[in-house]
């Protein structure tokens, strides 16, 4: 079953690699995943592509200790609702953070990780997870 999941994943690649959704110019709302029509404005909506910056904060979270197949090596791990700075919420894993250190309101940035794979012979699915923002010193010496 090597071809399992291929079409389903391929259609969403760009959106889940780069957090690409859309923005309605009429009502100034952002959407992720991308919508075909603006649910607020319907026919009057004017949708444009929007590449989310990938910065936001933890809105709420849960610690997963009983994981489904394929995620057991990561236990315990954090799943959170992240609120992006543009106002959209999405569900994602928080990585590079121990379960005891995550808190509501914590600043996070999107990172690129392996999400799952379809067995040893199938495709590998990549996409966004979030991590605590990393300190940038830039230039440590004078």
């Amino acid at each position: 079953m090597g071809e399992q999941g291929v079409a389903h994943v391929w259609r969403k690649l760009r959106a889940i690699y780069n957090i690409e959704g859309n923005h309605c110019k009429t009502c100034d709302s952002y959407f992720f995943p991308p919508r075909l029509v603006c649910p607020n404005c319907r026919r009057k909506g004017q949708l444009e592509e929007h590449h989310f910056k990938g910065l936001g904060k933890v809105h709420t979270f849960a610690i997963v200790r009983q994981a489904p197949e394929g995620f057991k090596r990561q236990v315990p791990y954090i799943v959170a609702q992240v609120e992006l700075d543009e106002g959209v919420r999405l569900t994602a894993q928080i990585v590079n953070c121990d379960p005891e250190d995550v808190e509501i309101g914590m600043r996070v940035r999107a990172c690129f990780r392996k999400i799952t794979e379809y067995g040893e012979r199938g495709i590998i699915v990549y996409g966004y997870k979030f991590e605590p923002v990393l300190k940038v010193t830039g230039h440590p010496y004078p």
């Binding site: 394929g70 057991k72 392996k114 300190k135 940038v136 830039g138």
Partner: protein, 347 residues
């Protein structure tokens, strides 16, 4: 002139100490750490591999350079741990950078020097006007067979370098390579772990190729050790680059800043490039850098790089090598085995 328009690195957060690996196998950890000059190594998380490390490093490079990813015309990813045997890692990187489809890409493999081979290729494409900007990546999540000497040094990390002609932060003044058929280290198709010629890896392999490669480029360019402010040699462990420096007569202080090997050990395809990145983090305009990578099998790529004033306009935008080195969490051998799939029962 052709040069580096931006660079970015990525090092996973987890570290395991040499002493912790030694404890499991009943080795003398303190003696080993001192003997090899390696104290802790970087370990990827369970959801990190060459494609994810390459994307993170490449996104940092694009941000540092301030370029439009649509100007990237070629992506070459050098690694010996590509996630797919057939399907280029570069395709995933291109999509994750929102590049255009008007782009060529391929995966490279030449043990620890596949990344610098990618730099040379992109230099050629840029100088012949075939592309505007090329992206060269060296990244690995190297594995050693449990209990093998390589387990102490096989680390994870990646470096992405954007090569172009406009607004270069460092000019690549010259490059040349030295290549032979030397079986010091190899991995056959379908094997999980590499094999090596043990003692054979030193004199006829690393020292001959790095040494000859360095002398060759200095001869070609009429330069000497005194013409350079920094030296970067491939770092399979902490001892080899220092011994190489002594053989060539490089003052220790010109080599010291590139020795990331002590904190993260050998990032394979990213190794020499990580040392270069650390030097670029701190060098002054006008400084000259001499870098030699090494790949088993075997070959070396030598480079002469001059730091430009432009570099001052780019610092502070993305994390430095030291920022990534400072971000660390220690794990023990059982967590390491869990993350690295040394326990086969866990998917």
């Amino acid at each position: 002139m052709v040069g580096i328009v931006g660079y970015g690195v990525y090092i996973p957060r987890y570290r395991i100490k040499t002493e912790e690996i030694a404890r499991v196998w009943g080795d003398d950890g303190k003696r080993l750490a001192k003997g090899l000059g390696v104290f802790e190594k970087s370990v990827p998380g369970p959801d990190e591999e060459v494609a994810t490390i390459s994307v993170e490093a490449a996104r940092n490079a694009v941000k540092y350079a301030g370029i439009d990813p649509k100007d990237i015309g070629a992506i070459y990813v050098g690694s010996e741990s590509h996630p797919y045997a057939v399907k280029p890692t570069g395709t995933i990187v291109a999509e994750a950078l929102s590049c255009t489809t008007d782009l060529t890409c391929a995966d490279y493999e030449f043990a620890c020097k596949a990344g610098t081979a990618a730099i040379q290729t992109t230099m050629g494409l840029v100088q012949s006007n075939m592309i505007k900007i090329g992206l060269a990546i060296g990244a690995d999540t190297a594995q050693g067979r449990p209990g093998d000497a390589l387990e102490y040094s096989a680390a994870a990390g990646g470096v992405a370098i954007l090569v172009g002609m406009d607004n270069v932060v460092a000019t690549i003044e010259a490059t040349s390579s030295f290549t032979t058929d030397t079986p010091d280290f190899w991995r056959r198709e379908g094997e999980d772990f590499p094999s090596h010629g043990a003692r054979f890896t030193g004199e006829p392999a690393y020292f001959r190729h790095v040494g000859e490669g360095a002398r060759l480029l200095m001869r070609k360019t009429g330069t000497t050790i005194d013409d350079f402010d920094y030296f970067v040699f491939h770092m399979p462990n902490g001892k080899f680059p220092l011994a190489m420096g002594r053989q060539l007569g490089v003052p220790k202080e010109k080599l010291e800043d590139s020795l990331v090997v002590r904190q993260i050990v050998n990032t394979y395809s990213g190794s020499a490039m990580m040392g270069l990145a650390r030097v670029l983090d701190i060098a002054k305009p006008g400084d000259k850098i001499f870098m030699v990578s090494y790949g088993s099998g075997a070959g070396s790529d030598a480079f002469i790089i001059r730091v430009e004033k432009e570099i001052l306009n780019h610092r502070g935008k993305v994390p430095t090598v030291d920022d990534f080195i400072a971000r660390k969490t220690y794990i023990d051998y059982s967590e390491y085995a869990k993350y690295r799939r040394k326990i086969k029962a866990l998917a």
